[in-house]
Symmetry: C2
Subunit: 192 residues, 2 copies
DNA sequence: TTTCTGATTGACCGATCGGTCGGTTCATGC
DNA sequence: GCATGAACCGACCGATCGGTCAATCAGAAA
């Protein structure tokens, strides 16, 4: 329990911000939860905005790091997509806060999230495109659309559970079924 | 200019809430923008929460009404999906606030949005399922997943423009290309 | 021991928040 | 003309917000 107080503040902010968003979380709330004086927060972080950005940065970093390892393993492009979707699903399932932070950032019009994973996505798009050129994948669509679609769907699966569970509660009874069917839906849409 | 002040307040709240979300919009802000006294807002709406709910209700209603008309026209299920996606895209493009409101509601865990369009989605799912039974559409996947996927993707296309535009700015140069390719991707994923 | 620096605190600030209150204007029915 | 109730306003309230500041504390350097 000898983590520095700064770490402690950050950890509390991580959770509170992820759960309630920027403006529903007050500095006093964080201070109380972290068991420190309010002014200590302003000592370590210039202001609330910077604390928010730092928290966001933390989640964004965790996300890109988690995804970066994928691209070098699989050579079969179809199998790569399958595995990417699966691992992204598992990752968000284990860290739903990440998806929530992206959602907050999007509503704010934050452009940093795009800067961050742009190289990652561009790389994936290129892989798909060469597979298109080689005839392994159907041509005629922008690969980025495919990636955007499945990332978005997986994110919202966890964010909007309150919504979709009323469409069909089975969606959430067996998450594995969901992702498996979503993957097959996606794959059979691109086989040439 | 003879709209009642109540309407005026609601109209202003509609825009401000959609742009900034619940907690970034203050009653004073709405009052000033609407050119009325602050207390008038509390005269017409019990409190901020109720005003927010009323605004949300307004958008949700507009959304369901816009979608309801679709189901009776087209008999070919594939064509129905195509048209549904296209019209939903056009609708959100013309009313991006709707998507934003759903996004806010989701982050809050609001369950009302699900209650609202559940019958709509259930009806669409059934149509797809009978098409599956008749062999017109590939079997083996939950139709709700298909619907959820394309609604989600379309919503986020407009909400997260700040993000995806950095993945590939072409996505937003020709919105028609985007939705056309997304539709074809979806359709070719379900043809039997 | 003294000095210096960063960590930490509690008291405090002005601004703004959602909301209330007392009162005025105004349309309508009697 | 007058009573009534809704529409409407400005002044005001307590609470809380993000943020500041002077002071203390702990430990390393000298």
């Amino acid at each position: 329990m000898n983590t520095s107080k700064r770490q402690q503040i950050l950890a509390v902010a991580l959770n509170l911000f992820a759960e309630f968003g920027f403006s529903h979380v007050s500095i006093s709330m964080i201070a109380k939860e972290a068991g420190v004086g309010k002014s200590l927060i302003f000592h370590h972080f210039n202001n609330k905005e910077q604390l928010w950005n730092e928290v966001k940065h933390h989640y964004f970093l965790a996300y890109t790091e988690a995804q970066l390892s994928l691209f070098d393993q699989e050579k079969d492009p179809i199998e790569l997509i399958r595995k990417s979707m699966h691992s992204y699903f598992n990752y968000v399932q284990a860290n739903p806060q990440v998806a929530r932070f992206f959602a907050y950032a999007h509503l704010e019009g934050d452009e940093k999230c795009g800067e961050m994973d742009q190289p990652l996505i561009r790389r994936g798009s290129e892989l798909i495109q060469t597979a298109q050129d080689n005839g392994l994948i159907r041509k005629g669509f922008n690969p980025t659309i495919l990636i955007m679609s499945f990332i978005t769907t997986i994110n919202q699966y966890f964010i909007a559970q309150c919504h979709f569970t009323q469409w069909d509660h089975r969606l959430y009874q067996e998450p594995d079924h969901f992702i498996t069917e979503l993957i097959e839906l996606t794959i059979s849409g691109i086989k040439s």
